[in-house]
């Protein structure tokens, strides 16, 4: 019996880790989450946007911190082209006090975030999207009134050094959307901090 429980536990962990989540081509769900300015934000609030760079990120994760300036740069560059950044913190602040809503406000202020930084308190959005780590990007494109996931993964190929980046994945995916070509890349993997589930 104990062994069975153990196997079940192992299976449970495996499912919790991989989850279901979206694959490129799937229709994405909109959400309505609390922003650091205390307002509520959903993708439907942006009727003029062509799409969104949805980024699951946190305050505490060194990999996420390493990308903060690049996330701001992405927003500045692509908001004008119709693809604003929407950042979402899905982490459990009980486990990571640095990721509390109050600390999100502090970080957004300190870094001068130019984009909404939303708190996924119930973690439902992260689970629905299938985010496993931070930072984890979902490029969503509006197509015939639907939100379609077109790219999932990392921002670029070098978390350590922005100046040593060889391939900018998100920029590349948006460029192919803009050119009306098949989206490349569709999916990349990257090391990141695992999201702590409640």
């Amino acid at each position: 019996m104990k062994k069975l429980m153990m196997s079940l536990a192992v299976v449970f962990f495996a499912v919790a880790a991989t989850g279901q989540g979206y694959a490129p081509g799937d229709e994405a769900r909109d959400f309505r989450l609390k922003n650091v300015d205390d307002g509520l934000v959903s993708l439907a609030d942006y009727p003029d946007a062509k799409g969104f760079i949805v980024i699951f990120t946190t305050n505490h994760c060194p990999y996420a911190v390493a990308y903060e300036d690049r996330i701001i740069a992405l927003d500045k560059k692509f908001k004008e082209m119709g693809y604003p950044v929407v950042a979402i913190n899905p982490n459990d602040p009980e486990a990571y006090p640095a990721d509390s809503f109050e600390n999100m406000k502090v970080r957004a202020e300190e870094k001068g975030f130019t984009f909404p930084y939303l708190f996924d308190e119930t973690q439902e959005v992260a689970k629905t999207y299938g985010a496993t780590r931070t930072p984890h990007v979902y490029l969503v494109n509006k197509e015939a009134g639907k939100l379609i996931v077109r790219y999932i993964g990392a921002i670029d190929d070098n978390y350590q050094d922005a100046s040593a980046v060889k391939e900018k994945y998100v920029a590349g995916a948006i460029a192919s959307l803009e050119a009306g070509e098949p989206v490349y890349p569709k999916e990349t993997k990257a090391i990141g901090c695992s999201i702590k589930w409640k």
Partner: protein, 159 residues
């Protein structure tokens, strides 16, 4: 005089690595042979970092098992994903504090999209992650493991 001596000691402390330790720093190509050694030893390869809270929490389980199984054909390899710039300030002190005489390797290969899939197609890139293998059998876990879970996985390799 005492003060000069103290200054010299302080200066030395910056030059000499902590406890005289050093750590092997590799790229993925250099690491990969360690992920497919074909002999009758079971290898436990843990991907971790000092900044990763769940990694640090599970580390004592791994170290206890490593010590309990030291006479068995089981080897532990701890692949650190710490920032290379924090090797001296964070990684070496951690290794010393936790008395990790097991093998620790610093993987410095930022283009992780190139190699995550090669460790396991089931890995999204979140850490902690652990690969246990023996010859052709392997088991990959993108999650924290308890001591019991890890022992069960290790045992399953020799069944």
């Amino acid at each position: 005089m005492k003060r000069v001596f103290f200054l010299i000691l302080t200066a030395l402390a910056f030059v000499v690595p902590v406890g005289g330790q050093s750590i092997e720093e590799v790229n993925f190509e250099e690491l990969s042979p360690l992920l497919r050694q074909n002999n009758d030893t079971t290898y436990v390869v843990n991907f971790w970092a000092t900044w990763c809270k769940p990694c640090v929490e599970e580390m004592p389980h791994f170290l206890e098992l490593a010590s309990e199984l030291k006479d068995e054909k089981v080897k532990f390899i701890f692949v650190s994903l710490d920032f290379p710039t924090q090797k001296e300030s964070r990684l070496l002190p951690f290794i010393e504090k936790y008395e990790m005489d097991e093998r620790v390797i610093l993987l410095n290969d930022p283009n992780s999209n190139e190699w995550i899939e090669k460790v396991s197609p089931d890995w999204s890139g979140a850490i902690p992650a652990t690969l246990v293998y023996r010859k052709e059998s392997s088991s990959f876990h993108e999650s924290s493991l308890s001591k019991e879970e890890l022992l069960t996985i290790i045992k399953s390799m020799t069944l």
